[in-house]
Amino acid sequence: MHKNRFSGIKKILKKIPGALIHILLFAGSIITIFPMVWMFLSAFKPPQEIIQIPPNLFPTEPTLDNFRELFTRLPFMRFVFNSLLVTTASTIILVLLTSIAGFVFAKFEFVGKKFMYAVILMTMMIADEVLVLPLYLIITRAHLNNTYIALVLPFLITGFAVFLMRQFISTIPSELIEAAVIDGAGYFRIYWTIILPLIGPALASLAIFNFVWMWNMFMWPTVVVDTEIMMTIPVALSRFTSMYLTRYDLTMAAASVATIPILIAYLILQRNFVRGIALTGLKQ
């Protein structure tokens, strides 16, 4: 980044630190992605190759048997469907609800605004894990266990999302809205036709955040679902370890299936995701 203004011999040495940084970063990258690569490659290995020592990196006779066994022994298709449905539906609803709430908090004055915004900000300090027990008892009392509604209901509005949306919408000039009001547009139309298109990147950040979070969510679906057909992928994976303890060929295939959709979603929305964290650094 910064050109050194050193004279003499140092000019020759200038290129070396750059190359060294690349070597170190590259080594770090390889070490970091190795377990994932190992998982993907091993998913295509037959059982005897899994237990072989020294291990092979690449499968010598790649096979799809593990995936075939996975999808025939268990309703794995159903788990994938459940995860996709729960994740997509909750993400769409959350993005719409919190963006309109963010719009109102950013651009309107109303009775109780300060109080309500303070309460919503306060909820950002509460970790989801600690509310699992009371939420579980509420859901149980409402007889909603083992339903899709139970899987998504507590996560449709989060303080973090409202905060993020309000921050972005605050930067939109109010004149735009005033002009639309003078033209006779209703506020919902303004939200839909002016605000939403303008906060596209922020929406994408929030969407991918929430997608990853819901896709990987574990504690809540574990307690609220106990029938096989309602399980999401992470829950199925956890049951899996006790069922097929050392069938690593199967567990690697299952873990791969759990990872691929999220990697695809990440690759599509990568920029937004990284920017989202950089902007907030808040959500874990």
């Binding site: 590259f26 998982m39 509420i138 009001v181 504690m219 650094g281």
Partner: protein, 305 residues
Amino acid sequence: MAIISLKRKRSARTSTFPYLVIYPAFLYVIIFIIFPMLYLLFLSLSSTDQFSQISIFKGFDNYKFLFKDKLFWKSFRQTLYFAGVRLVAIIPLSLLVALGINQVKRFRGFYTLAFFSPVITSSAAVALIWMWIYDPAIGLANYVLSLFDIPRQSFLLDTDLALLSIAVISIWKDVGWYMIIFLAGLQGIPEVYYEAAKIDGASILSRFRNITLPLLGPTTLLVMVVATIAALREFTSIFIMTRSTISGEPGYPANSTLTLTVYMFKNAFLYNKYGIGASIAFILLIGIGLMALIQFRLFKVEWEY
């Protein structure tokens, strides 16, 4: 802020739009966040019969019980140990990676993707991968150790090593996350400082020590707080990797991997001791809340910076 005056003049009386949006949204927050929080407090102060589901108010009995409960203190110590090990490794690692990526122009996307891929992978999948890597007989970890003539380890089955082994996974998984926060911090340092230092003839090292490090102070503190919160909340990997093959309960071997979150879950959902589980959850809520409060403060500093 012109819109506000406009609202006051024209629509504060006529428009019901903000109320139609915010009141239901706020009601939702009350029902699904505020009420459960109060309910949690109530549960922690009572004893609930698991069959009749009737709760009887017991005051601080559950907290008194936990205060004398050896397993609670063990979980407490182990949670601190887990958070500490993670912190000590993850701060320098993620800072180094961020410094490196900030220096290079090429392959940035690749490096970011590489360090970020474990962050977005589900903890459940990560647990499955590493259970195999840590397998004492056919796992990769022992194979790698054998290449360096280091004796075999039993990792997750060893009371001294199990929690450390999981901390290593957790470090590996989250470096990319904190790297991004550091990267944002680095990019927030005005270039003019470096220019000025270069004119004064400061070396790379002295520029790093006198400009980068002090200006990264708030970011480092932010990462420390975020990393501590993450450690306190860690559940999925520990739960999946430490279940006893016989009882199916997490914390194996010999409760050496029990952390507060896992102990909370165990009491609430495996033993149906709602009161005890709720008390641990409430203690966690306070602890994490205090950390989050610091995070908020730091974050405001960052925001205005």
